[in-house]
């Protein structure tokens, strides 16, 4: 068979140029706003969901086999049910605890408290994790069939996990607070100073727009401010681990260690409001 290696490589170079052009086009805000790409992702998620669910079930059954040997089956089932309920209550306590400690000088606190208390915490399990080190998301086994919508807050017993960014019928993608495209309006629970926490993939969270005059110190607790409609007020986000204040800057650089251990993330709660 005739094989023209030079010609074939030229073809590949042509396709590389086409792909680079596609990268630029597909990532323009105009294309990203259209529903075409989102629809493709939603349909694909719906198709792959049963396989993911099955794969997780098989993996979990293998890993829990050890525990099955030492537990009576009935007690284990009851225990799991109780544990699930306990985690739900713990998550509620985290939220309520922060609410009770928040600064009374903030406006509309009573309005937000009432809103938060009326929320329903829908338990969900992680069925998939991002394979990329730069973009941090997880997939949960709840979707539009469970009344989940885009921009719904997700927490666990420790604190804020992230927000729902894509919804298909039986599963959803949750953008973690550590993702570089994530931004959460926060407040320093100890001083009342506000800012925006953005993700940093591999590092701690960064607080942007924290005024240079703000009194921030290492160990301060950072909670959601409730300024956006996505995250209810008072959810624990993390603890300040470094403060870099310079005389000539109008903002100070603050780093926050997230309270949630994302590598051990297993069960979460979606806040349905």
């Amino acid at each position: 068979m005739y094989y023209n290696e030079g010609g074939r490589k030229k073809n590949v170079y042509f396709w590389i140029i086409v792909l680079i052009a596609l990268v630029i086009v597909l990532n323009t805000p105009f294309i990203k706003r259209t529903r075409i790409t989102r629809t493709i992702r939603t349909v694909s998620s719906n198709i792959i969901y049963p396989f993911k669910y099955l794969g997780n079930a098989i993996y979990d059954s293998f890993t829990s086999r050890f525990y099955d040997f030492i537990r009576v089956k009935g007690i284990q089932k009851e225990n799991e049910q109780l544990r699930s309920e306990l985690e739900e209550y713990k998550a509620k306590v985290v939220s309520l605890d922060q609410l009770s400690n928040e600064n009374e000088k903030l406006r509309n606190s009573l309005y937000f408290r009432a809103k938060n208390l009326n929320s329903r915490f829908l338990p969900a399990e992680i069925i998939g994790r991002s394979g990329n080190n730069w973009f941090e998301f997880v997939e949960i086994n709840r979707g539009s069939a469970d009344n989940i919508a885009v921009d719904t807050a997700v927490i666990n017993k420790e604190g804020l996990v992230g927000r729902v960014c894509e919804v298909s019928k039986y599963s959803s993608k949750v953008l973690l607070v550590t993702d570089p495209t994530s931004a959460v309006s926060i407040i320093n629970a100890d001083t009342g100073d506000m800012g925006i926490a953005s993700g940093n993939s591999v590092g701690p969270l960064r607080i942007r727009y924290m005024s240079a005059n703000a009194n921030v110190s290492i160990g301060d607790r950072i909670v959601t401010s409730g300024m956006s409609d996505i995250f209810p007020k008072g959810i624990y986000v993390g603890t300040v681990i470094s403060v870099d204040k310079k005389d000539y800057d109008i903002f100070q650089k603050v780093q926050v260690a997230p309270v949630v251990s994302f590598s051990k993330l297993d069960k979460v709660f979606v806040i349905i409001r």
């Binding site: 991002s130 993702d179 590598s263």
Partner: protein, 163 residues
């Protein structure tokens, strides 16, 4: 037909990545099974097929991802580069595979950093943190390459053979 076989094989790899591999992060760094597969297949099948396999891997990552669409391009380029330069690597079969995976990890890291700098307009983390991520990624991906190389060699015969 072969391309569909490859696509279904890569969907299995995707399930393996999101269900098992991504659970085991070392110092917060996850291994990239698609990168490993692209590099290993490119070593075994050459530049042109490496390009196509990289493209398929990238498409899967872009479809099931959340943010920017660039994996199709970066992975295709990686497959092509590994296939092109594999002749320059001298050593045993396993040595070539490991070197190819490490080279692919470094190239992919630099390509993605460049693209993310383009999208965000700022570096994602300090150079020291980035270096740490790169070193851990190289070790972790090499370990996966060591484990998956026999599977790739075996499956190459099945996936490439005409029916």
């Amino acid at each position: 037909m072969r391309i569909f076989r490859f696509f279904f094989f890569l969907l299995l790899i995707y399930l393996l990545q999101v269900i098992i591999v991504s659970r085991f992060a070392v110092f917060g760094v996850k291994a990239d099974l698609f990168l490993v597969m692209t590099a290993l297949f490119a070593v075994n099948l050459g530049a042109e097929r490496g390009f196509v396999i990289g493209l398929l891997c990238g498409i899967i990552q872009d479809i099931f991802g959340t943010s920017f669409y660039f994996h199709s391009a970066t992975m295709a380029i990686l497959g092509f580069l590994v296939g092109t330069f594999k002749e320059s690597i001298i050593g045993t079969e396993e040595g070539i595979a490991l070197t190819a995976v490490i080279a692919a990890t470094v190239t992919n890291f630099l390509l993605q950093l460049l693209l993310l700098f383009f999208f965000f307009g700022k570096p994602l983390a300090s150079p020291l943190i980035l270096l740490g991520v790169l070193v851990v990624s190289c070790f972790y991906n090499s370990l996966l390459a060591f484990i998956f190389n026999p599977l790739v060699k075996f499956s190459t015969r099945f996936l490439v053979a005409e029916q």
